[in-house]
Subunit: 335 residues, 2 copies
């Protein structure tokens, strides 16, 4: 393996090199390279973009990308949404727009193979983000469909999370679940030239007003060692704004980019950025530790004993939680 | 806690009792009850129904349910699709249809809170299925949106997996990913009265012909102790049929139900049913073991040592995989 600094240089200079490492990363075969480049990360602003199919999320990602490119900033897009044009489930118009972007050497689009990714979607996405970060991209956009635990996990990788809504999807904002609102730093009502936009904005406003917005540390799934740092209280915490855009016509994109910049400044000034960073690290560590511990158990335990326990579960003589206790007892005396 | 047999009796007799246990299960607080009822499971046929939004998946689930009810069989529906009418993101017509169903005491609909479910979506869904199975439902339908790793995990809970497609969604069947086709036991082209149905069927047929269909055991994420049993080869393996339905008019539903019954018979006769069952058990055991082992590590390790490692990762002086090795070294000498 090349010297870490050489590796980072070649990632920045050579798109084929970058592409090769991304593929290796997705296949879970780049642990050494990721360890080597890791000291060179931490500069990119990571933006999560989530929302239901039909909200025009991909068009918005396109429009934001074009704006950042006009500002001279480089952009990587990680699409983990199976309905996104970046991953293939697209209408022709979107594909053509996407192709426009990918001709630009300052833009790199990577769609995630969500199926069978070793160690879960969030981990695989996290590794891709690390590669893009080391490769020097200024902005990394992670596009996910607004649904499911794995997407919430992915959102926890982002510094700033945009939740995209559109008028007339279901009854008002029924499509938005409370959980999604909790992860939103900025709410975007896209397709704001469609009828019903005022209703959607009003409904979102009402839902936001219901919750008292304070910075919360979500310890779920982490190692739970995050120190209690003084976080902004209700008076000083970031209040998620509701913006209106027509991404297909580039309307409202400048204002959106300005709000994203303002949120980044808030994160830095309050120290929330480093707390979010630590949460992300703890999540990834916990994820990898779980798997490593299981592999260690399987490597040391007696296969016959494991098979015997499984057989008892199959015969419904043992429940799953009883089986887990049994297997843990087996291994508690191991080195 | 009541006697297991009493508990099962009360679940079968009393819908409020069932509903209460389902809620407890979703909150991860029913381990004792699930252990108690587990010996009374294994009778239900578990059918996974997956497909992109817009394919009419929920309407199809409705139509199948009505058919099974006419046959005198009881049906439980677990909706883990955030765009499903069962979970709220619905158009009015679907909601009314859903209400029709839920007036019937032989039908029980449960939507999953996908966010923040302890131990992941597949585990939470698996526990709900166990409760419905013990409660005596003949058929359990699990409805998921056809996207993402978690949905594939959910599909692995099912005995028979239906993949739903519809004409005119994207370019031909671009919306269907290879991974989804791999998990399909039966392909359904719904909305078969819409233009373009022949193209969709032809494209699906071409994709199916590309792959040599043999029974495969997917060990990913399991304990990898599944014994090598003789599985059907290419000549005798189930070949996924492509059916056409118009679920909104109940067309093609009888044929679909017959194919589902034929698949169940195939599973039983070939022994594939018990292999799938063991895979499911190993997946759940692996999932629970990972978490239990991590909790044991956290309970015994020195918090200061863990925090020191995390700080080094934050400062980018240690990569995540190096940090995992460090933490495992710390704990390898523990009891």
């Amino acid at each position: 393996m090349p010297d870490p600094t050489d590796l980072v240089q070649s990632l920045r200079a050579n798109r084929r090199q970058l592409s090769r490492l991304l593929t290796k990363t997705e296949n879970g075969q780049a642990a050494a390279e990721i360890a080597a480049i890791y000291p060179h990360t931490g500069q990119a602003h990571i933006i999560g973009v989530t929302g239901a199919p039909g909200t025009g999320k991909s068009t918005l990602v396109n429009a934001l990308t074009k704006y950042y490119r006009q500002q001279g900033r480089t952009v990587a897009i990680v699409a983990v949404d199976p309905t996104s044009p970046f991953t293939g489930g697209a209408i022709l118009g979107d594909r053509i727009r996407m192709r426009d972007l990918s001709g630009d050497p300052g833009v790199f689009v990577r769609s995630m193979a969500t199926r069978g990714s070793l160690g879960g979607l969030a981990r695989a996405t996290g590794d891709l983000v690390t590669v893009f970060d080391a490769a020097g991209f200024d902005v990394i956009l992670i596009e996910t469909v607004g649904a499911g635990q794995s997407e919430v996990d992915v959102a926890r990788l982002a510094h700033t999370t945009l939740v995209i809504e559109a008028p007339g999807l279901g009854d008002d904002v029924q499509a938005i679940k409370a959980g999604i609102l909790e992860i939103a730093d900025i709410l975007v009502v896209n397709k704001a030239d469609h009828p019903g936009v005022d209703n959607t904005v009003r409904a979102l406003r009402a839902m936001l007003d219901l919750g008292h917005r304070v910075e919360r540390v979500n310890h779920h799934g982490t190692l739970r060692t995050v120190p209690a740092v003084p976080l902004p209280d209700e008076a000083t915490a970031w209040q998620p704004p509701i913006l209106q855009t027509v991404a297909a016509e580039d309307k409202g994109i400048v204002e959106l980019a300005e709000k994203i910049a303002a949120h980044r400044q808030y994160l830095r000034q309050t120290g929330v950025l480093s707390v979010r960073e630590q949460i992300r690290i703890e999540l990834e560590l916990a994820d990898r530790l779980r798997e490593a511990l299981l592999q260690r158990l399987l490597a040391t335990a007696d296969p016959a004993a494991i098979q015997a326990v499984i057989a008892q579960v199959s015969q419904r003589r043992l429940s799953l939680s009883e089986a887990v206790s049994r297997l843990l007892d087996h291994t508690s005396s191991l080195p």
